[in-house]
């Protein structure tokens, strides 16, 4: 087991080096001149040359690569050409906003989506199942931004219950400062015992959270349903029933345990997907997360940011995968070596 973990960690490092190298060279080969983007609309020829020198772009590619690697190892991805802030700092701040949103979404998906999928499978072909399946198809058909904007119109425009955008109200930002201990405002405001700020942060996260959950829910529900259906076909489920085990116990204890293992993969994949894929939600709700940063950096040929963020997302994804694999070991006795 320890050897396995060591192997996986080594693989992770090798993969990251590969990803870094590929993104580095891609970013230099692709068209678009980041320098011009960086120094504004009307630069002079001298300014362009100076900026290139400053960024080391006048050097041959292999030198640039060596410099990139040596800086990256020290955790320095340079300065974003677009926002001119240190990439590492910005990724740190933004990834926490994203993690706050995605972790909560994943939690909701597990708490809401999984039971719906299980119920749908247990009562397969019942009206409940048909409703769930129809809704989930309808849900997939709605683009994220439509869902987001509809929610905005309803809960802000029509009902006035929830804020439209941002992470906190202007006034709370100003008048309720709190330490950014974790970077996740729900936690930070609680730590600071600032309940006004906490309520404000909670109100602000509701709509992005709901949107992200609603658009991912159909997928999770459907996968859960299919997994559960498969498990329900298993002989050992029949065995349990044949020995007088009440159905509730069979479904929610015996079958669910078997389903949790593939489900962990799904949740892991979902988490990875959400980490990078919440671009639209972040855009619609001005949520200052990683997704919007990735999209804008790439569009602006901001290669320090693009490379940095690619590496961070890749490591996050790989780590989530590794954790899921390790959980497999814990959950499935067949994988454990006696």
């Amino acid at each position: 087991m320890y050897r396995y973990i060591a192997q996986r960690l080594l693989l992770l490092v090798v993969t990251l080096i590969g990803v870094a190298t590929i993104t580095f060279f891609l970013s230099r080969v692709l068209p678009g001149s980041p320098v011009e983007m960086m120094i504004g609309f009307h630069p002079t020829a001298e300014q362009i040359a100076a900026a290139k020198k400053e960024l080391g772009l006048d050097q041959p590619l292999h030198r640039q690569y060596v410099r990139f690697v040596s800086e990256a190892i020290r955790g320095d991805f340079g300065i974003s050409l677009r926002t001119k802030q240190p990439v590492v700092e910005e990724i740190g701040r933004r990834s926490l906003a994203t993690i706050e949103l995605t972790l909560l979404t994943t939690l909701l998906l597990v708490v809401v989506g999984v039971p719906i999928g299980v119920i749908s499978a247990v009562h397969s072909n019942s009206p409940v199942d048909h409703t769930v399946r129809t809704l989930s198809i309808a849900g997939v058909a709605f683009p994220v931004f439509i869902v987001g904007m509809l929610l905005q119109m309803l809960f802000y425009g029509k009902l006035g219950w929830l804020p439209l955008q941002g992470r906190l109200s202007s006034e709370v930002y100003l008048d309720h400062p709190f330490d950014r201990v974790t970077g996740m405002f729900l936690i930070d405001t609680l730590l600071a015992r600032d309940y006004v700020a906490f309520r404000d942060a909670a109100a602000h996260i509701v709509l992005p959270l709901a949107t992200l959950t609603l658009v991912t829910l159909p997928l999770v529900t459907r996968i859960t349903r299919n997994l559960m259906m498969e498990v329900l076909q298993e002989d050992y489920v029949r065995t349990a029933l044949a020995y007088g085990m009440p159905r509730r116990v069979v479904y929610y204890r015996y079958a669910l345990k078997a389903m949790l293992i593939p489900l962990m993969t799904v949740v892991g994949l979902t988490l990875g997907f959400l980490l990078g894929g919440s671009v639209v939600v972040e855009f619609v709700f001005d949520w200052p997360g990683l997704g919007g940063y990735v999209a804008r950096s790439i569009a602006a040929s901001d290669f320090p940011a693009a490379v940095g963020v690619t590496l961070v997302l890749a490591s996050a994804y790989l780590t989530v995968n590794l954790v899921v694999d390790l959980l497999y070991f814990v959950a499935d006795p067949r994988l454990r070596r006696a």
């Binding site: 020995y243 015996y254 959950a331």
Partner: protein, 337 residues
């Protein structure tokens, strides 16, 4: 006549689909008496496993069950799930074809046994464990204490089937329903399981409904045998009567596919013609399209069972007489007599 532990009368199981209805069992009759081993034989898809599931009230949705199934005098058909819980395991315990899959891979053998035991006896953790151990011993599983802590993947197929049988025995059922319990096992292991079942039947007077497609196994284990075709029991009698003087043309063909009695070869050889589509079973006798003795009457009416001798019944318009071994007709539809 000794007491009937399992009595099935006119059992019908239908699965309605969108544009058709599959009739899995079409009026089956079966009777298993206390202390006997009854074989239930037929090709796959003939409804024998579904009949077994009906005994426990476990026909999966959207199946519709009608007729009567009584286990130790308890009428099963039409009962709600809640009332059936004590029947399952308690009155009729079942063992399955593939013990490797029939046991839950995520729990230890001990846990699975004690969970089941506690459902049927008011035992504490410790007592349940004792009962489980005792059951494992009675099926001659080596190192029962160790086996309790093992997960299914850590045991062999034969050991698992023994554990499965132990689980059934621990519930002290009135009848053991064994659904092809040897099919997935090696030949030598098969024989061991057969010997074990025979031993248990002899020693404890256990009643067994033994479902198989292998007439060879039937010969070495069972007291009586029922032959099922297309959802009906077409012939029933003592093993001796049925195997030595089969009356139904189907039974004969089935016998002809067994290369040699008792050699344990379990592959069912080819019977000419197609297994009927149970959504649209043939009119009259369902076997007539494949039957050499079939006559016009076979296409029109489904034969009722009739007695051939003491406890040997057959449902055929043109059943073979005692001792007759060769089919007289050659062409389909030719008059039989």
């Amino acid at each position: 006549m000794s007491e009937e532990v399992l009595a099935i009368r006119d059992l019908r199981i239908e699965f309605p689909e969108l544009f058709r209805t599959v009739e899995a069992v079409r009026g089956a009759d079966l009777s298993v008496r206390r202390g006997e081993i009854m074989g239930l034989v037929g090709e796959s898809g003939c409804g024998k496993s579904m009949t077994a599931m009906a005994c426990l009230g476990l026909v999966p949705p959207p199946g519709r069950v009608s007729g009567h199934v009584s286990v130790d005098g308890f009428e099963v058909v039409g009962r709600p799930d809640r009332e059936l819980l004590p029947v399952r395991g308690g009155l009729a315990a079942m063992i399955f074809q593939n013990p490797g899959k029939a046991l839950n891979p995520f729990f230890t053998i001990g846990r699975q046994l004690t969970d089941v035991i506690r459902l049927h006896h008011r035992h504490g953790e410790r007592e349940s464990r004792e009962v489980a151990l005792e059951a494992l011993r009675s099926v001659h599983l080596p190192d029962p204490e160790i086996a309790l802590g093992r997960y299914p993947h850590q045991l062999s197929g034969g050991q698992l089937q023994r554990a499965m049988i132990a689980m059934a025995l621990a519930c002290e059922p009135k009848v053991l329903i064994a659904d092809e319990p040897t099919t997935a096992l090696d030949v030598t292991i098969q024989a061991q399981v057969i010997v074990l079942l025979r031993e248990l039947a002899d020693a404890r007077g256990l009643t067994i409904l033994f479902i198989t497609h292998d007439l060879g196994v039937v010969g070495s284990l069972c007291d009586r045998v029922s032959v099922m075709y297309a959802g009906r029991v077409v012939e029933v009698g003592s093993v001796r009567d049925v195997l030595e003087s089969p009356a139904h043309p189907y039974t004969r063909k089935l016998l002809a596919t067994v290369p040699k009695l008792g050699d344990g070869h379990s592959e069912l050889a080819f019977i000419p013609g197609q297994v009927p589509d149970m959504a649209f079973p043939p009119s009259g006798c369902a076997f007539h399209p494949r039957c050499e003795r079939a006559s016009p009457v076979c296409t029109k009416s489904d034969p009722d069972g009739r007695d051939l001798g003491a406890m040997h019944r057959v449902a055929c318009h043109h059943a073979h007489g005692g001792g007759e071994t060769e089919a007289p007709g050659t062409a389909n539809g030719a008059p039989a007599r």
